[in-house]
């Protein structure tokens, strides 16, 4: 007698662990984007995805296989660099270019197996690896810390000097957010691949309404994941969530009862001329 799942077909077919992990990552990206947008550092998530690929390529060359410990140590060092260079995009770009160039030039001479690993880094894995599970745990802990200390983080980004005076230790909170941005970029890269990590990060950082964003992402991704590859479903889900968010903003902007100031804000957010 065939074993049947206690869950209906549509649930077993939807890759629940992958979906749940994606929702955590998406929520974390949305949270971080609120502050990264405020400091004009939206580039940091995609650039950390680049760095994840660079580090992986380099670790393949140096250690023969990707070591989670090595990646985590490198992430700490690189996040420190990112915190230091802060809002300029040049340094991460430079590191990325050096990493890619070195690795890609040498990798074909090593083995086809490594070449296929690189390919999967670009196109995305369709299952949770031990590396992604470790990173997901860090992501979940970070999300929890951010939610508990939301006020401290918001105030630190709003006015660093005043926060310093009242003893809030703003550097700690700002660094923690930037570190989270690096880690979430890494997780996305190892779960979805380099290209889809970029799509998800860039979509999420543009969403204004966080609650609606998470709901629409969950709904769209759940529907899509049953029919198309999981990583692709996540990318499309994030794009559709962004579209819904923009449509809502547009609707708010067209509402005559909305104040002039808010209308101007909405137009500016949408990039509509005439502000």
């Amino acid at each position: 007698m065939p074993v049947t799942s206690v869950f209906p077909y549509w649930v077993t077919n939807m890759n629940v662990d992958y979906l749940a992990s994606s929702i955590i990552i998406f929520a974390l990206t949305l949270y971080l984007s609120k502050y990264l947008r405020a400091t004009k550092s939206t580039f940091i998530i995609p650039s950390s995805a680049d760095l994840a690929v660079s580090i992986s390529l380099l670790s393949i060359l140096l250690l023969s296989k990707v070591s989670t410990l090595f990646i985590l140590i490198m992430s700490v060092i690189l996040s420190a660099i990112l915190v230091k260079v802060g809002q300029t995009s040049h340094a991460p770009l430079l590191i990325k270019v050096i990493g890619y160039s070195t690795a890609l030039l040498i990798i074909p001479y090593i083995s086809y197996e490594m070449y296929s690993y690189v390919t999967s880094l670009v196109t995305g894995f369709l299952y949770l690896t031990p590396e992604t599970v470790s990173l997901l745990i860090v992501d979940a802990i970070l999300l929890l810390i951010y939610l508990i200390f939301d006020i401290q983080i918001a105030y630190s980004f709003f006015d660093k000097e005043f926060s310093e005076i009242i003893g809030l230790k703003p550097s700690l909170w700002v660094s923690l957010v930037l570190f989270g941005a690096v880690i979430v970029g890494f997780t996305m890269t190892f779960m979805y691949g380099f290209l889809i990590a970029h799509i998800l990060a860039l979509s999420a950082t543009n969403i204004k309404n966080r609650k609606l964003g998470i709901i629409s992402f969950t709904v769209f991704t759940s529907l899509l994941i049953m029919n198309i590859p999981a990583a692709l479903a996540v990318a499309l889900g994030s794009v559709l969530a962004t579209v819904i968010d923009k449509m809502l903003l547009l609707w708010k902007g067209s509402n005559l009862k909305v104040s002039k100031v808010r209308k101007a804000v909405v137009r500016k957010a949408l990039g509509v001329p005439g502000v």
């Binding site: 003893g167 809030l168 808010r262």
Partner: protein, 260 residues
Amino acid sequence: MTTSYSVRYDHVWVRYGDHIALEDVTFDVPHGDFLVVMGPNGAGKSTLLKVTLALVPLWKGRVEVLGVDPYKDKGILRRVGYVPQRERVNENVPLRAIDVVLMGLMSTNKFFFKKEKYVEKAIQVLKEMGLENVAYKLYSELSGGQKQRVLIARAIIADPDILLLDEPFSALDVQSSRLVARSLKRLNDKGKTIILVTHDFAPVANYAKRVALLNRRLIAIGKPTEVFTPENIEKTYGVRAPVAFAGNICIPILGDQHER
């Protein structure tokens, strides 16, 4: 400790690398003073406020706030309210006016701060500033004058003895400048010591008790009518500028020092 002064600067030197920002600055600010600090760009005006708050390292000298060295005991800064330049605040962080004001109470409990407990107090302070109707609006959506008054409300919600303000009239129109200046006057009348850094003396010409001219060194300090002499102005700004008198009020006609 009881002292006759709110703040004492005792041979204060500050340097940033090779650049000396403050050079042997010595003076006292008595309780209840309304001191306006003026000087050209790079004169060390903001640095003077920052040494009062122990935000920049002292090279030489000593600062005392209500008789306590803030570099040794930061707790004394709970009795100091600070209004930074508006440009230093990141308006893109989506905080409402009331959230900004509540920030002034964070030093009471930094890690498990419950905003809900203090909402009534925040509304009261906003009311004093004439801002109760914008309490739940986003800070970024307020006008320049309203933003400035929100920052003052944040500084005074913890009922400090001393209020430090850095360029509070920057980019404000006449009406908004007057509203801010009147708010400061009311606070000074309640006994708060005010130290205000500005390029624009006009809004507080009626209210300032003393003026300090600074150009890295202290050039002069005292009543406006005594300090605003062509000689002192030339020593401070490097230009001769006329001084306009109207009754007991005098205002130096400096033009825009930012364009110098």
